[in-house]
């Protein structure tokens, strides 16, 4: 396989020559949609390579394993889903830039490794690390993962968190204090501290530098610090595209609730957004449309019917103004995503890692015509339009994998009255990606809600023929994750994921699920021993 071969060469060359960027084929690998494969070939071969190297280190005692591993096909070829990851706690490195409960993380990593999980996701906060430029804590966590034999997906978060507290860099904060309009702003004038407004992406607002330049600096700093990990441990880099790390506007209420089921609000009221809107309105010949956002949109927690804008029938969204506004609003989001992914491609393009980005899973009100919660978040996916096509196109352009959270959600268990339809939304997004050749990865919405049923849904979604996820990341490690209420469910899930097509006679009875089926199948025993 050509791609596989190239990836391997890339790995080898990288190991030899890094960080010199002398690899001519780097860009060619990443151009064109067909080569998006590379992102997934590479980790597979890396994983294979890495393993044999490690084993060789212990060669004296266990040389036979080397042979075994060489003989076994690359892991990618295994039946079932792609790789399985578990997210590390968001505050695995705290806002003081120290590793948080490292002992627990170490034990947890080993447990996951033994269980057969492929890797972990490491969230890296812009604010924590760029404060001092000190990567040692994150590197320490990466080393722990490496030592446990786990791969690493790194998420580069460009937004802030309230709980656990993970702020933006101080320099950004102080710039925002000096000019609050750098932050997203809602109709009531509330500043949203989550991240910088998309409208200032290319304005020199941070001590003469643009946010995009600052993002790039962060990326490059990461690349330099993690030089030793690419190609051996780090397999994926996820670019935080907006609030919550997702490509979206912070349309949810400022007090932030995960259970938020309202329509949300447009976030176009900082002076830079408004200026852009004004300019855009004037260019299209409707200067009056550029004075403000829609006046008849509902509030954060209201239903679509409470204002006129999102009414299913006769709502303003269907008027020329509505169309004008929604196109502009969503295009700002798309161009932000496009710009950021361009920067990321440029910084990371020659590395043997896969790039990915996350889109929000806005399933509430999906069963309406106006799809208000998607609209306020920046997805113009109203009746008659497919808002996700354009998104998929951008991801395709940058050979970026699209991460979809919410793999655990089903239509049935959604609250009544919010006209939610996660399954339909999921198939819309996966359809768009499939048409554009964009790879898909999945996440769960939240650990709290995942019960036995949630895991069943995840399994169905991950294994579904038409979606073919390349990886699934389970969020997140923490006390609840390891609690006796949750951990057994998770282990069972992992085991069943790894063995999706068991014959009925091989499935141990419920009581013995964990004790495996070896004894009941004596034939297997024999093969093992002659192996």
């Amino acid at each position: 396989m050509e791609a596989g071969l190239m990836a391997k060469q890339a790995v080898v060359a990288k190991l030899d020559a890094f960080p010199a960027r002398s690899l001519g084929f780097g860009s060619s690998v990443r151009g064109g949609s067909g080569t998006s494969r590379i992102g997934f070939e590479a980790p597979a071969s890396i994983a294979w390579r890495k393993r044999s190297i490690r084993v060789a280190r212990n060669g004296a005692i266990r040389s036979e394993v080397v042979v075994e591993q060489k003989a076994s096909p690359p892991r990618k070829d295994k039946a079932g889903p792609g790789r399985l990851y578990v997210g590390l706690p968001l505050d695995v490195v705290s806002d003081g830039n120290v590793v948080n409960h490292g002992k627990a993380i170490a034990a947890g990593l080993r447990a996951l490794a033994l269980l057969g999980v492929d890797g972990v996701e490491l969230p890296i906060s812009w604010g924590v690390v760029m404060e001092s430029g000190d990567w040692s804590s994150y590197l320490a966590v990466a080393s722990m993962a490496r030592d446990a034999g786990l791969d690493l997906r790194v998420s580069l978060h460009l937004h802030s968190h309230r709980r656990p507290r993970l702020p933006l860099p101080k320099s950004v904060d102080s710039a925002a204090v000096a000019d609050p309009d750098l932050l997203f702003t809602d109709r009531a004038g509330h500043r949203r501290a989550d991240c910088l407004s998309f409208a200032v992406d290319d304005l020199p607002v941070l001590n003469g530098r643009t946010p995009m330049e600052a993002y790039e600096e962060f990326f490059r700093s990461f690349r330099l610090a993690f030089a030793d990990f690419f190609g051996s441990v780090v397999t994926d880099i996820t670019i935080g595209l907006g609030p919550n790390g997702e490509l979206r506007y912070p349309s949810f209420p400022p007090t932030g609730s995960n259970r938020f089921t309202g329509v949300g609000e447009f976030q176009c009221y900082d002076k830079y957004m408004l200026a852009d809107l004004k300019q855009h309105a004037e260019e299209t010949g409707h200067p009056f449309w550029g004075l403000s956002g829609p006046h008849d949109a509902p509030g954060y927690n209201q239903s679509p019917d409470s204002g006129n804008f999102f009414k299913d029938h006769g709502g303003s969204w269907e008027t020329p103004y509505g169309k004008f506004f929604l196109s502009w609003y969503s295009s700002k989001l798309l161009s932000h995503g496009d710009r950021l992914l361009s920067v990321a491609s440029e910084v990371f393009g020659d590395l043997p890692v896969a790039l990915s980005g996350k889109v929000p899973f806005l399933h509430c009100w999906h069963n309406t015509r106006s799809r208000p919660s998607q609209a306020t978040a920046g997805f113009y996916n109203a009746d008659g339009r497919d808002g996700y096509e354009a998104v998929a196109e951008i991801f395709a352009k940058h050979s970026c994998t699209m991460i979809i959270p919410g793999m655990d959600l089903t239509d049935g268990e959604q609250p009544q009255g919010v006209r939610s339809c996660p399954q339909k939304l999921l198939s819309q997004i996966t359809g768009a990606c499939k048409r554009r050749g964009v790879k898909l990865a999945g996440e769960n919405s939240s650990l709290v809600r995942v019960g036995t049923a949630g895991f069943t849904t995840i399994k169905e979604n991950v294994l579904a023929e038409n979606s073919r996820l390349d990886s699934f990341t389970y969020h997140r490690m923490g006390a609840e994750f390891f609690s006796p209420d949750h951990w057994p469910l998770f282990t069972e899930f992992i085991r069943s994921m790894a063995q999706p097509e068991m014959d009925s006679d091989d499935i141990p009875s419920n009581a013995e699920r964990l004790s495996l089926s070896i004894n009941s199948v004596p034939g297997n025993d024999r093969e093992l021993q002659s192996a």
Binding site: R51, R54, V55, N58, I61, R62, E64, V65, E68, Q69, S72, K78, A79, G80, N100, H101, K103, A104, A107, G108, R110, A111, A113, L114, L115, G116, A148, G149, M477, G478, A479, F482, S483, P484, W487, P488, T491, I494, A498, Q499, D506, N510, A511, E512, L514, S515, L516, I518, N519, S520, V521, G523, N524, D525, R526, E527, L528, Q529, S530, A531
Partner: protein, 946 residues
């Protein structure tokens, strides 16, 4: 393993040195057991090389391979029949070859050069022999070897570390008169200050070591003093056993044959002039070397036209009498069944289980043959070979299996099983002993040697393909986590392609759960308020959350017996009279003593699990008792002793490990790692209780039987739950299994190990101790609680030494299990072991009520000991229980420690109760909540909100 006994041979070459009758140190003439090292690199044998059996018997007939078969005389009978199956099984038989090692010491110099000597060591057996040798010097009194001086080293010598050298023996082109095949000559000068030469022989091909009576050979040149006591003095040579610490491998023993020689006459007069005198020596030592002889056995199956039976023909070239120990299998099972008559001639029935048929010698005298009939409907013939009383041949630890007819499953059982692993492990233990105790000239007998039930036979040493796996599971370290992880993945993902031994898998699963539990506890503690949050959310749930680990959450446990309760013989009826009283005191659960027949009267050495007549009373009385408790609303816990079980019978070695009664398990049900009981199960998944055979819970049949038994107890006796004895002895995951199968109302396990002390002073931080208990609870998936031994231990120190500060951990939480996982902690201060008449770990005397004031006000499920209930403490205990119930304190209540100082500890529980223990002063703050005293006693006080 072949066991050979032989006697020492006295070998005295006649007339060679007739003059001198020398005091020759004769070794004790013992018979020795010859043992072949299992770790020798001999090829795998007794292995059917591949399963060549045709997939669909009839369709693909395989011609008989061996020409020899056609010569067997009786083939005419069956010649026209269809061959359904034929297979030649290669066999490896060990055979002992006797040979000798010769040691000769000659002078090589002329009259003037009397100091030149030559030591010649020879061996007359085939093989690649190497002399592993060293010297000791005169001034060195230690027992260590040294390397010989360079001039002494023959060419081709290899230095071994810094204390020995190895020199290969040369094969002689022409055999000498003594028929020495291999020889090595070492030249040396007797003036060098060498006190002795030490050596052992090594045979490179088998890796076997040859020693002299369990020690190295030693040729000693003792001092000879000039003063002339030479005449009466000992002559300056002898062979002594020397130390041989360096080689830790298996050693073959050679019995000294004590040939001896004397000094030549003419040397006598020169003795005074020599500082040291060396005399020529010639000695021979017989040795036994085991060799492997390839043999084979051809088995073919034909259809008989005359009868409706299949004819199984055995043909082998094994010499001597060969007995086939055989049976047939019906259906798919592997259960041995005796075939119907007629049996072949010379057949005996062995213990109603199998037939033993002596094969007839072949006409040419090379081997023997036999024809057996197997009934229609037989799925296969199982057999092992018996060569003599001590020698059996099996198929790598399992029976040979020959499929018959058009049976679909036509694979032979190849490969080994756990038995082989165990053998391997056992061998290594022996090795260690040999190397640690070089004085032990008797090799340890391998236990399987004397097993005579052929189904248990496992007697031939073998190196098989499973060895690596076995080692893998043993050598489990952090280092190999990645590989193990890989294997785990493989187990799950590539079903059937690879697997691991069950033991290794369980090690991994246990490790995973342990790690998860560890991560959980750290995360939980490091998140402030997490525990409270969890409790809150649990509080908001429906009032009663039933779980076998907690019961209703409001349980108060009574231990309904003490160490003396068996004495009256009618404890059940005595306790029955107290049922009402216990109920009125507020107890909701009672724990009864172990009900089974037991070797010890107290019940903790159970024997026949289904015999419930014990020293406490009969089964009927027990049922009555349980009913009486149920009538007054008390749930009843049975004391289930699952860790160990006393055997009914001895095995061949006189070891008690064969069970009787309804659960007539054999030694497969016994864990392998307690040498006292020679179990053939897997290694224990926990600690061993050394007084009785520990049950191997990893065996499916054991777990199935135990589940059945527990369910039977629930149904028959009416038990509502379990108190599980000595759960340290096996993995908590099995307990989960049992709990899920028996769905108890309440269950608690006794995980008792010692706390950590530094210089006799108990450490403040007992997190490691409670962690182990929490780990166990976690492994049970929370299906069982555990006695909070940590809390008891900390109370001991706090009360005894007036160190009440101990009652708060670093996070300001209770320092016992109750501080980490209150709902699964069963707090107690005394039980039949710690207190009663045993008093293994008695609660500080006179301070019991402080202990009860603590556990009866705090979360967790408190347990009160019988002796305390029926003592002068009853009033106070009763009061505390009613306070607990009135305030609705439950196992998940929250504790706020308000004071933990030298002489006083105080806490508020759920904001409803305040408690202080210790002589110091404490009054709860009177703010918005008004506290009124609810109970009071010596050094404790309890308040409730008014």
């Amino acid at each position: 393993m072949l066991l050979v006994r032989w006697k020492p041979i006295l070998h005295c070459p006649p007339g060679e040195h007739p003059r001198r009758g020398l005091a020759w140190p004769l070794g004790p003439r013992r018979s020795l057991l010859l043992r072949r090292p299992i770790r020798s690199p001999a090829p795998a044998f007794l292995t059917i090389s591949s399963s060549k059996f045709s997939q669909a018997g009839r369709a693909r007939v395989r011609p008989i391979v061996r020409a020899g078969l056609a010569q067997t005389p009786s083939l005419a009978d069956v010649e026209n029949t269809e061959i359904l199956f034929s297979e030649t099984l290669p066999l490896m038989r060990s055979q002992t070859v006797e040979g000798k090692i010769t040691v000769r010491l000659d002078p090589t110099g002329t009259e003037e050069e009397v100091s030149k000597w030559r030591l010649t060591i020879g061996c007359n057996l085939e093989g690649k022999w190497t002399l592993h040798w060293g010297v000791s010097y005169c001034d060195d009194l230690g027992s260590e070897w040294d390397q010989p001086p360079p001039e002494m080293r023959p060419p081709e010598s290899v230095l071994i570390k810094d204390y020995a050298i190895e020199t290969p023996l040369k094969r002689l082109s022409s055999q000498s008169e003594r028929q020495v095949l291999h020889e090595l000559q070492i030249e040396f000068d007797s003036n060098t200050p060498i006190a002795a030469i030490h050596f052992v022989l090594k045979e490179q091909e088998t890796g076997a070591w040859f020693q002299h009576k369990g020690r190295d050979f030693r040729i000693s040149f003792t001092h000879y003093f000039e003063e002339g006591n030479s005449v009466g003095g000992n002559q300056g040579f002898s062979i002594w056993p020397g130390a041989f610490d360096q080689i830790s491998s298996l050693l073959l023993k050679a019995e000294e044959s004590t040939s001896k020689k004397e000094d030549p006459d003419d040397e006598d007069g020169n003795a005074v002039k020599q500082k040291r005198r060396i005399a020529p020596i010639y000695k021979e030592f017989p040795i036994l070397k085991e060799e492997f002889v390839p043999n084979h056995m051809t088995v073919s199956v034909r259809r008989s036209d005359k009868t409706d039976k299949n004819i199984v023909q055995f043909d082998t070239d094994l010499p001597g009498d060969v007995v086939i120990h055989w049976g047939i299998c019906k259906d798919d099972g592997r259960k041995w069944v005796i075939p119907s008559t007629p049996h072949p001639p010379a057949t005996k029935i062995f213990r109603h289980k199998a037939l033993q048929t002596l094969l007839q010698p072949k006409a040419d005298g090379l081997g023997s043959w036999g024809l057996f009939l197997a009934d229609k409907g037989t799925s296969g013939v199982v057999f092992v070979l018996k060569l003599n009383e001590y020698t059996w041949l099996n198929n790598n630890g399992t029976d040979f299996f020959i499929p018959i007819g058009s049976v679909s499953s036509t694979t032979t059982e190849i490969g080994s099983d756990d038995i082989v692993h165990e053998q391997q492990a056992g061998t290594e233990i022996n090795d260690v002993r040999n190397s640690l105790a070089p004085n032990n000239s008797y090799p340890l007998q391998n236990k399987s040697l004397e097993t005579s039930d052929p189904k248990n036979i496992n007697s031939l040493p073998m190196k098989n393909q499973g060895t690596e796996e076995a080692k893998e599971s043993v050598a489990y370290t952090d280092e190999i986590i990645k590989e193990i992880r890989h294997l785990v993945t493989d187990i799950s993902s590539e079903k059937g392609k690879r697997a691991k031994s069950k033991e290794a898998q369980e090690n991994i699963l246990q490790e995973i759960e342990k790690l998860a539990a560890e991560a959980y506890s750290i995360f939980r503690i490091s998140i402030p308020g997490f525990v409270e949050l969890a409790s809150d959310s649990e509080l908001m749930k429906p009032a009663v959350k039933l779980s076998s680990g907690t019961g209703s959450g409001y349980e108060i446990l009574c231990q309904g017996f003490n160490w003396e309760s068996h004495k009256s013989g009618r404890w059940y009826s005595e306790l029955r009279d107290k049922a009402k009283e216990l109920s009125s005191l507020g107890f909701t659960v009672v724990w009864l003593p172990p009900p089974t027949e037991s070797v010890s009267p107290e019940g903790y050495m159970p024997k026949d699990l289904y015999n419930l007549n014990s020293r406490y009373g009969s089964l009927e009385e027990l049922k009555d008792l349980v009913n009486s408790f149920h009538e007054v609303g008390i749930k009843v816990l049975g004391d289930a002793v699952l860790n160990h079980r006393c055997a009914h019978f001895q095995n061949k070695n006189g070891i008690w490990n064969v069970f009787g009664g309804r659960l007539n398990w054999d030694d497969r049900a016994v864990v392998a790692d307690d040498p006292h009981f020679q179990g053939r199960g897997n290694k224990s998944s926990g600690d061993n209780f050394h007084a009785a055979p520990n049950i191997d819970h990893s065996q499916d049949f054991v777990r199935k039987d135990l589940k059945e038994w527990l369910c039977w107890l629930r149904k028959e006796v009416g038990y509502d739950g379990w108190r599980l004895d000595f759960v340290r002895g096996f993995w908590g995951g099995y307990v989960k299994d049992y709990m899920e199968a028996t769905e108890p109302y309440f269950a608690v396990g006794e995980y008792w190990d010692s706390l950590s002390y530094t210089y006799g002073d108990m450490d403040h931080n007992q997190d490691a101790h409670r962690q182990r208990i929490v780990d166990w609870i976690n492994a049970t998936n929370g299906t069982a609680g555990a006695f909070d031994v940590t809390t008891k231990g900390i109370l001991h120190s706090a009360l005894e030494k007036c160190e009440y500060w101990r009652l708060s951990d670093q996070n300001g939480k209770p320092p016992g299990v109750v501080g980490w996982w209150a709902s699964r902690a069963v707090t107690f201060i005394e039980n039949h072991d710690t207190g009663s008449t045993q008093g293994h770990w008695r609660f500080p005397s006179g301070k019991e009520m402080q202990g009860y004031a603590y556990i009866l006000t705090h979360p967790g499920t408190p347990a009160v000991f019988y002796d305390h209930i029926f003592s002068h403490y009853q009033q106070e205990i009763s009061r505390l229980i009613s306070v607990r119930n009135e305030s609705k304190i439950h196992c998940r209540s929250t504790v706020k420690i308000t004071k933990a100082e030298r002489d006083v500890y105080a806490a508020e529980i759920d904001g409803k109760l305040a408690v202080k223990i210790g002589p110091g002063y404490y009054e709860p703050p009177n703010g918005p909540t008004k506290w009124v005293v609810a109970a009071e006693g010596k050094d404790y006080k309890v308040w409730e909100t008014s």
